[in-house]
Structures are given as C-alpha cells and as structure tokens.
C-alpha cells in the first residue's frame, strides 16, 4: 500500500468521522440514565437490561437473524448457480438479456417488490409470516449474489478449465476443484452482502410480515414514530457490535481463503 499524502489522509479521516459519528453518538446515549438524547446525566446499563427483559424484542431480533442467515445461505446457493449459468451461456444476446433481467431486480424500488410480493402471496394463499418473509428475502438477495460472483467468473481464465480438462478432470471435478475454489471470495462476498441486505431491509419486509412475525427494521420503524427511546439506542449498539464481529469474521475467512489459494489444494 502506498503512502497517502496528508491532504487525502485528512479528507479520508473527515469522511470516516462523518460516517461513524452518528453511530457513536447513538451508542453513547444508550448509556444515559436520563430519558432522552439531549443531555447526558449519568452512566447506566438499564437500557441494555431493558432490551434483554423484553422477550418480544429478543424474539424479533432472533427472527431477524434467522431470516438473514437462512435467506443469505439459500440465495447464495441459487445465486452462484445463476452466475454459473449466465457465465457459461453460449448465446451472447441471451446472456445479456438474463443479466439485464437480473440488474433490473437490483435497481427496482423495494416498495414495488414488497407490494408485488404481498399481492402474490395473498393470491397463492401463502399466510404472511416466517415463510413469506424468508421467500421474499431470498428472492431479492439472489440478484445481489449473482452480481458479486459473476465478475470472479469472468476474470477467470478459460485456460484454467482447458488445462483441467486436458488433465482428464470430469465436469464435476472442474466445477468442484477449479471453478468454485477460484470464485470463493466472490461467494463469501455475496453471502455477506445478502446477509446485510436482509438485516436492514424495511420496505419489502413491511409488506410481507404478519401474523405475529416481525423483524427489527419493521419494529424499530414503528417504534421510532413516538420518538427514539433509549432502548432502541441500546439495541442498535448491540447490533453494531455484532456487525463488527461479523465483519472481522469475514476478514479472517478472507485471509484464510487467500492462503488456501496460494497454498496446496485441500
């Protein structure tokens, strides 16, 4: 990494301060024993204990995490297959068409996707709840995974595959031992992006929650109407911590993947 001269460094620092200040401001006040965010009275853990005492909130938090994990997992599996299909489509026009269809889903507004899902589910007769939320989260995460995996596939030299074939690898071997290890960073990136998308989605989720199943974004949104209570701050602080842990985990995995690539095959 080259050295940054002082001006860009300063700029970068300023940008990060602006990005992180609100989060730290929010977390700071989660320790406030006073009722609001206007003046800090004294340090307290009470808002954190309030989070843990509120079983409903915990259930909703767990719901959110479960949906995020499962939807990211399933959408990664489907998305990788989709990316493979797109990358190895012979017909150029067809490939572009499929890719465009994929991209349209990424740019179309969440509200529209959410409303269409609501209509679809009620027509088909799926009861709103865990299943409907999971299905819609999987659906809107797939295009993201595809977009994350595809560049890796495209940058992979075809000579790698040719070489594998020359050495007598079967199609299954090529997929399992050449392609998938090569695109692994893309797969993990897609998984984590799908995870965060699922965690913070409000618009789609709002339409498809129901019958007692809710996620954090929907809950916080309606709680915030009556002004942000410090319980929300505490909860946000906890989630921020979990996210940081996840990101660190992702980097640890990424590092390992890198050494794997340069090292001997597993």
């Amino acid at each position: 990494m080259g050295k940054l001269s002082s001006l860009p460094k300063l700029y970068l620092t300023a940008v990060f301060i602006i990005l992180y200040a609100p989060i730290f401001y929010l977390i700071f006040y989660s320790f406030n024993s006073g009722g609001g965010m206007s003046n800090f009275e004294s340090f307290t853990w009470e808002h954190y204990s309030a989070v843990f005492e509120d079983t409903r909130l915990i259930v909703i938090l767990l719901n959110t995490v479960i949906v995020a994990l499962l939807s990211a997992l399933v959408s990664t599996a489907i998305g990788v297959l989709g990316a493979l299909a797109i990358a190895f489509l012979r017909n150029q026009a067809m490939r572009n068409a499929v890719l465009s269809l994929n991209n349209i889903l990424i740019v179309s507004p969440d509200v529209i996707i959410g409303a269409s899902f609501l209509i679809l589910f009620t027509i088909v007769g799926v009861k709103l709840g865990f299943a409907s939320v999971l299905i819609s989260h999987i659906a809107f995460s797939i295009p993201i995974v595809v977009i994350m995996v595809l560049p890796k596939l495209q940058e992979m030299s075809t000579s790698l595959i040719d070489a594998a074939r020359d050495l007598g690898a079967s199609r299954r071997d090529i997929l399992m031992r050449v392609i998938i290890p090569y695109i692994k960073p893309g797969i993990f990136a897609g998984f984590f992006l799908a995870l965060t998308y699922s965690l913070d989605d409000f618009a789609v989720t709002f339409f498809v929650t129901g019958n007692g199943f809710s996620t954090l974004s929907v809950e916080i949104y309606s709680m915030a109407r009556a002004g942000i209570t410090l319980t929300i701050n505490a909860l946000s602080g906890l989630i921020f911590l979990i996210t940081v842990a996840l990101v660190l985990g992702y980097y640890a995995l990424g590092k390992k993947a890198k050494t794997d690539l340069t090292g001997v095959r597993k």
Binding site: G35, L62, V65, I66, V218, R225
Partner: protein, 357 residues
Amino acid sequence: MKDIIRAAAAILIISALLLFVNSKLNDSSGRSGKDVITVYNWGEYIDPDLLKQFEDETGIKVIYETFDSNEAMMGKIEQGGTSYDISMPSEYMVEMMAEKDLLIPLDRELLPNLQHIDPYFLNLPFDPGNRYSLPYFWGTVGIAFNPTLLEGQTFEEWDDLWNPSLRQEVILVDSARETIGMGLNSLGYSLNSTNLDELREATDKLKRLSPNVKAVIGDEVTQLMVNGEAAVALTWSGQAADMMYENEEIDYHVPEEGSNLWFDNIVIPRTAKNIEGAHAFINFMLDPEVAAQNADYVGYSTPNLTALDWMDPEVTGDERFYPDEETREHLEVYQNLGLEMLGVYNELFLEFKMEMK
C-alpha cells in the same frame, strides 16, 4: 469446497439453534392454549405490562404487531393474508375502513366497561352510534412553543402566528387538513368547510404567513423542538407531549377560536379470527384502572371518564391535554369530505407551499 460446505453447515446449525431458542422464548412468554388474539397497533402505543396482565387474567395469548401509518395498516388488512383481531386506526381511517367493509360491528353486550367512556367522545360523525369503533386515545391540534426562544409571545389565538416578530420561526405540519384547517379556524370558519370562498380566503391568509414559516415537515419536528432549533410548531397534542417529556421548557396551547379534535380508535378488522377474544381485549382496555395505567405509560389523553380518578390529578388537571368543557365546545372532529373536496384541500395546500420563499 470443503470449507464452503463447512460454513453452510455451521450457518444451518446456528439457525436451528436460534430457532429453538426462539420457540422456547415464545412458549415462555405466552400460554400453550389455542386461545390467541393478534393486536395490530401503532408503535409504542400500549403499556406492555398490560398485555401480560391481560394474558394472565383471561388466558388468551396476545400476539402483538405494530404499524406506523394508517394507510399502511389498512393496506395490509385490505389485502388479506393476515389475521389481525384488533387494530387502532385514526378517526378518518375508521370511516374509510367502514366504507370498504373492512370492520366487524362491535357487540355491546360483551363490552360492559363501555359505560366508563365519556359520552362526549361517543356517537361522533365518523362512526355514528359507535357501530365499529370505540375511542382509544384522543387529542387536539395546537401550537407547541418554546418560551425561552421567544420574546414573551403567547398563542391565545391563531392570529398570533402571524406576528411579524416570528419571522422564520414557525414550523407547520406537512398535512393539508391540519394546515388549511388552521387557516380556516383563524378566520372563524369550520375546519370542515366546503365553501370554496372560505377556503380561498384561508389559503390567501396562509400565504401571508409564509414569511414566518421556517419549514413544513412531518414527525421530524419533535427533535427540532426538543433541541431548541425551532421555537414554534403547529402540531398534535400527543407530539407536543413527547416534546415536553424531553424538554421541559416547551409549552402547548390550543387557540381559543377552535381547533381539531382527533381520535385513535379500537376496531375489530374483517380479518379477525377470534372475535370473542377481541371483545374481551377491548373490554379489558376499557377497564378504568387499565386505561389509567395505559394513559400514564403512553402519555396521551384517555377518553375513559372513570380512569381519570385513578390518574395523577396534576396530569388530568392539565388543561393543555384535558381541556375544559368550554374549549372542547370549540373543537371539531374532521369529517370525511369526500375525495373531490380532499383534492381541493390538497391543491390549495400545494399552492401555499409553492408560493413560500
């Protein structure tokens, strides 16, 4: 490849574990019986202890969900796929839902606690005879202001907003009925006026207010007032109560010419599965002791007359939130003016906003 499979397996195991914990939590927070009702309410609009108390007293488990706007709530109920047994729409939404046949009529025999409701809040034009709804909380539209940022201004009448000394100080709500209604009230007209001349006059008067207007915004106003970044705001009493809770300097007043009286109401939507349980819930919420505790928690005004005896006299004696009979006489509930008239209101409001500098 192996580590991908391992990671996937790990995620599945974690999810399964979380699901298990979740179902355990769900079981411990409720009863195992089949008797369940689903309540769809505004966020932070009920004391959670009361839900537990209701479950203990009746053995009916409460599933609780929240929404943040009348329109979103109705959209979901209208579309189906849910089974809400109770919801809390505002008064105009009760009327719309009744028109669309989305509500189930209330059975009075199952609601003995109905007697505690102040008759003043019953039999109103949006739901004659209270066929579908009962009032849950109520309030007014008025002026919230921060005296420390002002030079001794008071807001006895709406015209005080036009005072030239308030240049760039006033925040209005971004809602046609409230703002145009304020214009009509300041001229002594009804805020349900459908007379085009009166509406035109009110709009012209509002335009003369524009030098004083700092912004026309929604819920963000609470934070601005609390932080002392704004001095005067046209707002709802509930929102004013939120502001006062966080910043004691703020005061609230309903000008004497009259203003809007609003309600949030308990209804049973068409999607209800447990109508008997829903009535039990409504009756429970109408219990004076329960209503008093709920009003303490939420901070809005309760329509439950008997509940007032259970509450802090300092709260119930506060005329800003429990106005006396005389002020109440000047309050009006919004009537459904029909789509066409609503269009006129919106158009005039837009005209006012566009001419603002």
